[in-house]
Symmetry: C2
Subunit: 252 residues, 2 copies
């Protein structure tokens, strides 16, 4: 079996935990990692709290191939991610001349005050992550990628680094929509999953305009196997008298 | 100082980690906990994986007043939350006659097959959480509340239990919109935060139709203090020549 390439995401920000802001980064990163053959194993949302960030990053970077963080790299007092990453790795936080140059692409020299210069403080040894939107860079230390929280900026940063990720086998999926409740097909699904441990069969009930049904998603790394098992799901449901719709687009 | 009442949320589901589904439960629970005077400290999204769920629930229930979980309590093979909670607490999973009665409100006796009856398997000693939408109950074991993942059902369950939570001092907040970049006000904000450690001052940049600005959110448990500090934020920004809009509605 091929070794799994895994990732964890740390969403840093009181505003997500207070409900003020709805996170918009998880799904973008999840889909991008799928494309890169990297498996997102866990996401944690933590407060702007030094101890919490350091502990979380250290746990997750030991357990995963890659860790991504979003949020907390701006110029204000509540932006503490860079300090925390430096402490997590036990390295100094240094004013990085390359990062200062990035800032000067956006900010006039006379406006580059001490607060804004904080955005050029990078953990020693960190590589910069390009920010084509507003130029204040993210950075990478070892297997940890530190990105902005503003979705447009985060997306631009992530798009810039995804090509450098060394992924494993890419997951593909195929869906079947079944016009029957989960309870009707559960037994057949379980048997199928037991016979085919090389795929993941997920069952998601829905209620569309008063009509109940279930979407069955088959995921795995071998497109032919995913295709075959998904078709078996469809046949099983039809055998129970349920109407089905197999996904017509190619699996991804 | 009053002891803080805290909570953690565990979102269980491969479909969130794969990017198939955008979570819609975090924000609802976060806002509800605010209202109840409970502080959401951490959220974790984990896969439908027994070891991951047990470890996560055990870590978080030891560290928080309350833990909430969403997802994984349906009738199919990928619904493993009840088994995992039983194992996390080291208790048996038992067919609960009260839960069977709940199911019979929705399902005809002749359709109550073994798969559906799995939804009546509750960790020993668990109290049921009412599900007015589709009747299959959630449950509570000690300080852990196990709820459905489907947002409409989760919301109904959460609304039913929130009155029973023993909260601490309620957090209130007030916002000021400042028509200046974060870098302009960062120094003044930092000084204000240092002088007022009894509130949290959060800074959130925005770009609305090409116009950049910053929303400053002041949060704390004393409404008069929150009001005063938020007004000081406004005065500070005005002193720097920035246009401001103070929130007109009462703080919440």
């Amino acid at each position: 079996m091929v070794e799994e390439v895994t990732a964890a995401l740390v969403i840093i920000g009181n505003e997500v935990l207070s409900g003020r802001t709805q996170d918009a980064n998880l799904q973008y990163i999840a889909l991008g990692l799928n494309e890169a053959g990297v498996r997102l194993k866990e996401v944690r949302v933590v407060a702007d709290d030094e101890a919490a960030i350091i502990k979380t990053v250290n746990e997750l970077r030991a357990a995963n191939t890659y860790v991504f963080t979003t949020g907390g790299i701006g110029p204000t007092h509540d932006d503490i991610t860079a300090e925390c990453i430096a402490k997590a790795f036990g390295v100094a936080l240094k004013r990085d001349p390359r990062a200062v140059e990035c800032l000067l692409r956006q900010i006039k020299p006379e406006n580059l005050n001490e607060a804004r210069l904080r955005m050029a403080n990078i953990p020693d040894g960190g590589e910069l992550i390009d920010n084509p939107v507003s130029h204040a860079p993210g950075f990478r230390v070892d297997n940890v990628f530190v990105m902005a929280g503003v979705p447009k900026i985060m997306q631009a940063m992530f798009d810039g680094i995804r090509g450098s990720l060394k992924g494993g086998a890419k997951m593909v999926s195929k869906s079947v929509t079944i016009h029957a409740g989960e309870g009707v097909i559960a037994d057949g699904l379980r048997q199928l999953q037991e016979r085919r441990p090389d795929v993941e069969i997920g069952s998601y009930p829905f209620n569309r305009e008063g009509r109940y049904g279930t979407v069955i998603v088959t995921r795995g790394t071998d497109p032919a196997v995913v295709e075959r098992v998904s078709h078996e799901v469809a046949l099983m449901a039809q055998g129970l008298g349920a109407g089905i719709e197999e996904e017509s687009q190619p699996p991804r």
